[in-house]
Subunit: 335 residues, 4 copies
Amino acid sequence: MDAPQEPIRDIAHLGHVELLTPRPEQSLWYFRDLLGMEVAHREGQSVYLRGWGDYAASTLKLTEAKHAGVGHIAWRAISPQAMERRAAAIERTGLGIGWSNGDFGHGKCYRFRDPDGHLMEVYYEEQKYEPPENLRSALRNQPQKFTGRGVGVRRSDHLALLCRDVAGNRAFVEQTLGCQLREQVRFDNGTKEIGSWLSTTAMHHEIAYVVDRKGLSGRLHHFSLWVDNRDDVLRAADLFTENGIFIEAGPSKHNNSQAFYLYSYEPGGNRIEVYTAGFFVFAPDFQPIVWDEKTRGGGVYWGAALPESFMNYATPDLPETSAQAGGNLPVIDPR
Amino acid sequence: MDAPQEPIRDIAHLGHVELLTPRPEQSLWYFRDLLGMEVAHREGQSVYLRGWGDYAASTLKLTEAKHAGVGHIAWRAISPQAMERRAAAIERTGLGIGWSNGDFGHGKCYRFRDPDGHLMEVYYEEQKYEPPENLRSALRNQPQKFTGRGVGVRRSDHLALLCRDVAGNRAFVEQTLGCQLREQVRFDNGTKEIGSWLSTTAMHHEIAYVVDRKGLSGRLHHFSLWVDNRDDVLRAADLFTENGIFIEAGPSKHNNSQAFYLYSYEPGGNRIEVYTAGFFVFAPDFQPIVWDEKTRGGGVYWGAALPESFMNYATPDLPETSAQAGGNLPVIDPR
Amino acid sequence: MDAPQEPIRDIAHLGHVELLTPRPEQSLWYFRDLLGMEVAHREGQSVYLRGWGDYAASTLKLTEAKHAGVGHIAWRAISPQAMERRAAAIERTGLGIGWSNGDFGHGKCYRFRDPDGHLMEVYYEEQKYEPPENLRSALRNQPQKFTGRGVGVRRSDHLALLCRDVAGNRAFVEQTLGCQLREQVRFDNGTKEIGSWLSTTAMHHEIAYVVDRKGLSGRLHHFSLWVDNRDDVLRAADLFTENGIFIEAGPSKHNNSQAFYLYSYEPGGNRIEVYTAGFFVFAPDFQPIVWDEKTRGGGVYWGAALPESFMNYATPDLPETSAQAGGNLPVIDPR
Amino acid sequence: MDAPQEPIRDIAHLGHVELLTPRPEQSLWYFRDLLGMEVAHREGQSVYLRGWGDYAASTLKLTEAKHAGVGHIAWRAISPQAMERRAAAIERTGLGIGWSNGDFGHGKCYRFRDPDGHLMEVYYEEQKYEPPENLRSALRNQPQKFTGRGVGVRRSDHLALLCRDVAGNRAFVEQTLGCQLREQVRFDNGTKEIGSWLSTTAMHHEIAYVVDRKGLSGRLHHFSLWVDNRDDVLRAADLFTENGIFIEAGPSKHNNSQAFYLYSYEPGGNRIEVYTAGFFVFAPDFQPIVWDEKTRGGGVYWGAALPESFMNYATPDLPETSAQAGGNLPVIDPR
């Protein structure tokens, strides 16, 4: 049993994410032809994608839906026992849904919602990628050949969610998943938690919760894909401009995380970040960084301040009034 | 108690390394003026150095000694309890030395030797870096100002040790420290373990064991420092050439780890790698990659094959006959 | 005599530029310690600087003056005869000043003003850089050792001038110096020339004229220094932020020239660009690109639109009313 | 008339090159799918290619032939008069062939051979590239959309020829074309000219002559394509390795030219360089750099010494004995 003062280390990493799109063909073009991802599988209304450096069979599931947004978010446990421990911990919170038989690429999983309603799951068994002959790498430790198509994103990295109550959702993933807090934005003399960035690995963050200014729930701020070099981010800027993809911010450097980034909207409407660098956290006693109104500045280390849309736009892009009408949860989960 | 089938996750990361040098002034010039590290502290015959992005007070201790080589290697535990557990596990192997009161930058530690005689320690308490005014960063999540001097290495990354028995030393750090095996070179139909690369974090490797062709023990193959961009590795090549530093190999890309590297000899004789990229390992069931005579090739993905000296030279650079004379352990530890 | 339809090819390149600063010590710190330039010579109120890759003894003269701005702009002829031809052509315009005996680093020159009053000169004899022992490069075709200090700008590249009448000044350098027009911004259905970019070499531009919104004359918009890699521009952004230097725009990519840029203000007030890439022009019949209100957009290919200050601020930073009071020419030339 | 001491400035730049290949389909795959060039035109046994940043309709003609090698080399004059002047100067040497009506992409030209027999031409009229709708760039000063396919070479850059008599061929292009000597390798106390690098623009070199160790004539050492960033050279190394293309040398940095390079063999057998950086020459009195046995070293600034094949292999790859049999000129020109 874990001693109370020791960290929970049951989650290995953010495993995969499902994005919803009302324009599946155009979204697929964006992820495959511009970002350079590969299609690993198709099933029903979904296409399963992967970066050339992903070891799992698929890390991004793209599903046709009425509205854009995030379908579900999957965390991989470090062992079957760890999965069971996490499921039990979640069940105690009353937010559990139950066991599922899995999906393409992974085995059984325990499904649940975070307090804001985002659908999540914990799983352990995962299918490794077995490339077809034409995608076999010359290097035996690479899961797939680097194809040189488009941006060439290496792997799925992290995501940021909007929510009504940052503190509540942040505490939930800390306590049930063992996510470690890395950075926070707190306004009003620290009393109002505006955003929190957390991780279960050495990567700066795997998940962020940021307050939803519209008061909606279950929404996605952005999903992020990793490239190895800052030049690849600049390459993405060229390709997006040449192909009519809206660039919202960057290429620039975040203050929070120190990462080099570019935000665009994929044709289905979801905000997608091409991302690299940033600092790693190895120290078990890392003290979370807290930013306030003054220190946060425009959210950037250098480069233009983040635009207003960055604070306001999210998917699904629903009117504010829908918050009063009972929330938007049914829209988020297409099944 | 850990269930047998679950991984040990008690070590947070490789904490710091002590290098020995017979030419302390010139070695300091190399690390400070060319690589761009900062001096955090001086004590006795030692200078304590740090990369601008290291969160610890110091990650590289440089100590004057008769011969070059590695002084000691320190692993940081995730908690005081984890430190105790590791100390107990090591003690059971008979290779434990005992508790020490610590050193500049960290608290008490448990000292031991690996089977090949390299001096190691496990500690938990660590002093965070508090920059003087002139080295305070504009960014509150950076431990230190980026100074723009020389190569500008960000942080200490990993090291590679030579040893007589790779399998034995590899198994020792797996079983006592919970290091995860990432890649191996095995010759003679897999019967002869030539080298093994292991890690306790998501980084590809923190420690490597490679067979010592001279049959000596306790030697260092190389110590490695991280830069954020491949351009920084190329920058190092320019600076080394302009300053008469011997470049042994690279800039090039490893097959093992896929990292981009440059090997040079610091003036004291130790082989130092400037290093970036490489793949991360998050999967708890990552299957170690095994290379053989054929697949290994010249040890590179592209770029020139690694030269003979890379296979033969290590520090201390002692004659082969010293192996028969009882080993070189006394040389390694200067105290 | 030149046949009318053949281009004048008498100017080899923009030779050197003199910048004025009311804060000489701080400006020197910026160019030497942050940008990494070397001091080649000091004389009177001037310091003569150079990038590590400049073949000339000095390409930037920094002179103490009451106001920031540009002192003079020097063009190098391809031969003594070419210098004479250009002097004769300029003399015919009535804007000539006369022959001067030269300055540190170059021989006699013919001085003149462009129609807007900026002081210029044409010269041929130039002193090559002879590095002191400690700055001698390991590579015999490099004029100086790469020191790895700060940004490490390679060489002086180009400058942009504000003026009252873009068309008149543009035509003047075309006709007297043989500058080739590369790109233009024209508003009001092409009737109003807002800015023109010209060059005498394969580089995209060496000089630009942009309309002075305040109606002043003789002012400098920016002076630009070349780095070899986009990573060096990003490095500059880090160093400027860490050292309290105001970044006005970038890192980003221009639409005009396609170059990757970063604009900052040196402590004396002059706007300085760190610059790389951009396209080369080799074709003798290159058709100048014309942008209008719509196609110009924010002046960027990607990245944030250029801020208002970019349109309004220049050095010397004088009040608009000084235009009525007879111009600011005496301020520009400190002698 | 040009004064004797003034440089000839009649050639604008190296215009285009024709490569011969015995494996046209595989060569096309290499240039189009791996290097990312576009097919602009097809005619007879030739495919006309272009880099995305080439302003001309085509800069590389790929022609099926029995042996690999260079078909012809075309220089663009700065004006029709300059073309006539160069034709007259060449005719006086007795190496002229005569006027031709041109080819796809350019107007009439004067054809000749250099003393070693390489077929050359001078032309003025050139067809600018008019992209089809799907290749139109978002940026009006870019000739073509950046497609993000493969390496993404921007434009054709230079070539290196082998010859029996370096001094004679070097003097020929200096005197008839006005090429400026940039660097030389001279052995045996300067008496034996081993290689010379020359240019008509600010680029370091457009043509090189290197001694043919086999004593053959008319052969090609390599053809070189420009990329904007060193990361693109590293990208090429990845793509070549993944696609079974032989990498002969690099990625590394030349001492001569300071450029960053990668040499591979395209499937037809020609050595192709992916190339960037290097220094520009603007000074009209630039003193050519001379290297000897000792200073040349392995031909590199850093990185592995150039391999033996680099000194010996060229196209066509004919046996040494063919030199005695009367040379290989008929092989070079397929028409």
